[in-house]
Structure formats: C-alpha cells, structure tokens
C-alpha cells in the first residue's frame, strides 16, 4: 500500500510536484502516467526516501521509506536503468544489495534465474545491452521478494520481446497480491498493462481512476471478440444483458465492455474464442487532451 498525501517538491525555483495526493492498492497494476517532466520520477524518488519532500508525506505501509527495517524486503524499485557500476559484475551487484538487507545469498541465484540473466551474471555490467541492464535492475527490485514494487519507465528502450516480458512479469506480480506501481509517459503502454490509472501533469493530479473507466469516459472503447459461433455468443451476451454488434469483418464488438467478463462468459458456455481484446481508439489523444489542458492551466496561472 502506497500513500501520497499533499506531496510537494520544489527543486530551486521549479515546482516539480504540487500538492499531490493518491494511494496505490495491492493486487493490481497501477499506472502512473504523465508527460515527461510531469513529476513522476520526483514522486517515486520521494517514495524511496531519495529526495526529501518540500511538504506533505510519501508513505509505504503507513511509514516513510527511511523508517522501514530492511527496506528492500518491503519495496523493490527500478528507478533508473541499472544503477550499476560499469566495472562490477552483475552477480556482485546483486550480492552487495542482498547483504545490505540481510537477504540470503541463495536469493541472488534465484533472481538471476527468474530474470533470465543466467549466463550474463558473471559479466561486468558496463558491457550490458539496455535490455540486459533492465533485467538486472528488475532482478535487484525482486531481490527482497517485496510486496510493493515501483517501476520507473520500465519499458523505455526495450525491444518488443523485452516489453512483453516486463508486462507479463508485472501482471504476475500483481496477481500474487503485490502492489505494482509503474510509471510511463506512454498511454498506449498503460492501456495494455495497467488496471488502475493515476494521471499527473505539472506535478498535479489529473485523474485517479480505473483503467476501464478512464477508457470509457475519454474515448469509445470496446471489447472486440472473434469466435467461430458468433450467433451463439450474441445470444449468450444478450442473456447476460450485454448488447453487442457485429463488426465489418464479422467480429463482435461490445462497447465499454470488460474483456475478462466477456471471455469468462464465453468460457462458461463452452464457446471457443479466437481473439479477444480491448480496443481503445483515440486513447493517446484523450491523454494528450487531458495533460495539455493542465499545462495551459498551470502556465496561465503562473503568468498572473
């Protein structure tokens, strides 16, 4: 559980975070969305006790990070790619982190396996590709088997394979009941990953909403499903009080629907489903509109 209350951070004359309040609950992926420079990283750094808030509180399980005993066992964080000295071998980087928080050395081997670092574990981190460095950062975050995970722009610069890997990993962590808080400046990435969404712009809260609600409110999203028996699925959906229409290519489209509910409904009636997914046309545009208005509002206020 993460709690941010009236959090404010000023770097010199620049107000990076401005009276921000939200909480992040366990068991789901919460996306932390905002354009570059919106204050996402500053908020994460304050949550980790790296930067001191100018005002307000950033709490994890009700306590400031600095008061957590063996914090790596409570919170795992990927704050910057690697954060590893170039001359140090990956295994040694994980080893000193483990020692600092009384984590058994055997756990180092476990996270090396878990993140697929295997053969690279004995190499110096300076020779790592961005993808390997990111895997090492994730291995470090998972080291203490923490119930709370913070990922700052985890898919930045990754190849498609790496993006899918991180997405799957985060889903797994949330499914285990952990709190997963992931920042991004890409709405499209969040739409595929997050269950809940916190949007900030210019250090201020713009939206704190379920992903599905956000999609529904800000653009016409729909569930698209393809099945060899569209007529039967239409009947099943109608029986559940859901209206669907047949798209141009024969797939069914359910406006504002939840793909999980539709999939489960189909499964309960023994229907084969060939394709199912949430289509969110214009999501990126909706996000841009939301943050752009915040930028105008803020700059207008400063101009006075």
């Amino acid at each position: 559980m993460i709690e941010v209350r009236d959090l404010t951070k000023r770097y010199g004359r620049k107000l990076a975070v401005d009276g921000l309040s939200f909480s992040v609950r366990p068991g789901r992926i919460t996306g932390f969305l905002g354009p570059n420079g919106a204050g996402k990283s500053a908020t994460l750094r304050m949550l980790l006790g790296l930067d001191r808030p100018t005002a307000g509180r950033a709490l994890i399980d009700g306590r400031p990070y600095r008061e957590l005993p063996d914090p790596l066992r409570r919170v795992g964080a990927l704050v910057e790619p690697g954060g590893v000295h170039r001359g140090r071998r990956a295994r040694h980087h994980l080893l000193w982190l483990a020692r600092s928080n009384r984590i058994p050395a055997a756990r180092v081997r476990e996270v090396i396996e878990l993140t697929g670092l295997g053969p690279a574990a004995g190499r110096r981190a300076g020779g790592f590709s961005l993808g390997m460095a990111q895997r090492l950062g994730i291995a470090a975050a998972l080291l203490g088997d923490p119930p709370v995970l913070l990922f700052d722009e985890p898919v930045n610069g990754l190849d498609p394979e790496g993006v899918v890997w991180i997405r799957t990993l985060m889903r797994g962590l949330a499914a285990e009941g952990r709190t997963v808080f992931v920042s991004s400046h890409l709405m499209s990435e969040m739409a595929l990953t997050a269950d809940h969404l916190i949007v900030i712009g210019r250090g201020r809260l713009l939206a704190d909403t379920a992903m599905a609600d956000f999609v529904e409110r800000h653009c016409g999203s729909f569930v698209r499903v393809r099945t060899p028996e569209p007529e039967r699925l239409l009947d099943v959906l109608a029986g559940a009080g859901v209206t669907a229409r047949t798209g141009a290519d024969g797939a069914l489209e359910i406006a504002g629907g939840d793909p999980a509910a539709v999939g489960e409904l189909a499964a309960a009636h023994g229907l084969a489903v060939h394709e199912i997914g949430l289509r969110a046309a214009g999501l990126e545009e909706a996000f841009m509109r939301l943050t752009a208005s915040a930028v105008e509002y803020s700059s207008g206020e400063e101009g006075r």
């Binding site: 704050v79 910057e80 000295h85 170039r86 001359g87 140090r88 600092s100 009384r102």
Partner: protein
Amino acid sequence: MTALGPAFAAEWIKLRTLRSSHWALSSAFALSVGLGVLAGRSFSTRWESLPADQRSGFDPTAVGFYGVALGQLAVVVFGVLAVGTEYGGHGGGTIRASLAAVPRRGLFYGAKVLAVAAAALPVCLLTAFAAFFAAQAALGPHGTELGGEGALRATLGAAVYLTLMSLFAVGVTTLLRGSARAMAILLPLLFLGSQGLGNAPGLRAVSRYLPDQAGIAMLQTGGRGVLLRDPLGPAAGLAVLLCWTAAALVGGYLVLRRRDA
C-alpha cells in the same frame, strides 16, 4: 532500522568487487616499497661522495619512506573511487541504489568510511613495514633496524598517515559528490606543499599545516628535516592531519545528509 553489520558487509563487497580498488592499493604498495628501495640504493652507492653534513644528519628511516610521498597518491585515489563510483558518470552511479538499500544516510556513510579504513589499514601497515625493511636492506651498512631511534614509531606513523589520507579523500569526495571534482582539488593540494608553497621562503610556516605536509611529519624519527624542511613534530603532525580528516568527513556527512540523491 538497518544495522551497521549488514551495511558494512555491503560496502565491503562493493570495494572488493571493483578492479580500481585492487589497482590503487597494489600500486600504493609497489610505489612506496619500490621507490624506498631505489632511494636506499642510491644513498648506499653514493655514500662516499655525499657532503659531510648530509652524512652526519642522515636519517635512514626517512629514506625508507621516500616512496610513501608518491604511494599516498594511490591511496588517495582508492579513497576517491570508493565514493566516486557511487556518483560515477555514464549512468553508472550507484548512489540511488545504495540509499534505497540503506536509507539512513549516516549509517550508509559510516559503513562506507569503516569499510575504506578496514581495507586501507592492513595494506598500509604492510606497505609501511615492507618499505622500511626493503629500504634498510638496500642501504646496507648505512641502514638502521626497527629497534633504532624512532624507527618503529615512524613506520607505524607511515601506515597511519596513508590510512588517514584515504579517509580524507573519502570525505572530500563525498563533500564534492564526484571523483573528477575531488581529484581536481586533491591533486593540487597534495603537490602544493611539496612542489609549491613549500619552497617559497616564509610560506613554510603555513604550508606545513597542509594535510600531507603535517602527516608526513609522523614519518620522521627526529625532526631533522630529511623528508620535509621545518616540519611539525610527529604528534603535532598527527593531530593536524586528524583534524583535516575529521573536517572532511564531517563536511561530507553534512552534504550527504542534506542533499537529494
């Protein structure tokens, strides 16, 4: 609260797993001992041609520590890199990872200082005694023994001097948050006394209070000025260097405690 034991263990692994630590400490040993032997040989072979006043005021112990004045540079580099790698360029700085692991800054810093001291002291002791014995062997009949006047105290002084210089470097690097800035201050400072102000008449009264110039006074047996002109006494030298080291370490702590990482 994270305890000192685990924090120290982590800092120890960090030092041990950096190639630069090994290079710096090895070269401190090699420079100190190697140059001590060269100095010993040179005095021993040219003994007959030395002026009489040099022969009468000869301090064989100090000759053994000629190399220490250069070896200290490597020890300083060791201290600088122990901290500087936390702030290192090319996205390789580990300070955020370090403070996320050990969020109490005083604890992190204390563990770092202890780890540097724990790594430097044994190496510096070994270096001082090896430099002493090797140089005395090279001096042959003109050498002295560890039982000679002030020899043991000077040898221990050399080890303490080198160790304190590494801690001084730790403090300065933490204060300045980076290796490059720290070296830009430390290198001129370390040559200031020996190459700069030390040779200017009248300024010696001031320059002998510089950290290295004060510290090297510990390496002399009788204050006859073989390594230094007009040095402080050994005890005063130790006290002055301790003050510099403490000031640098406290300054580093204040910056680390206050600044965002």
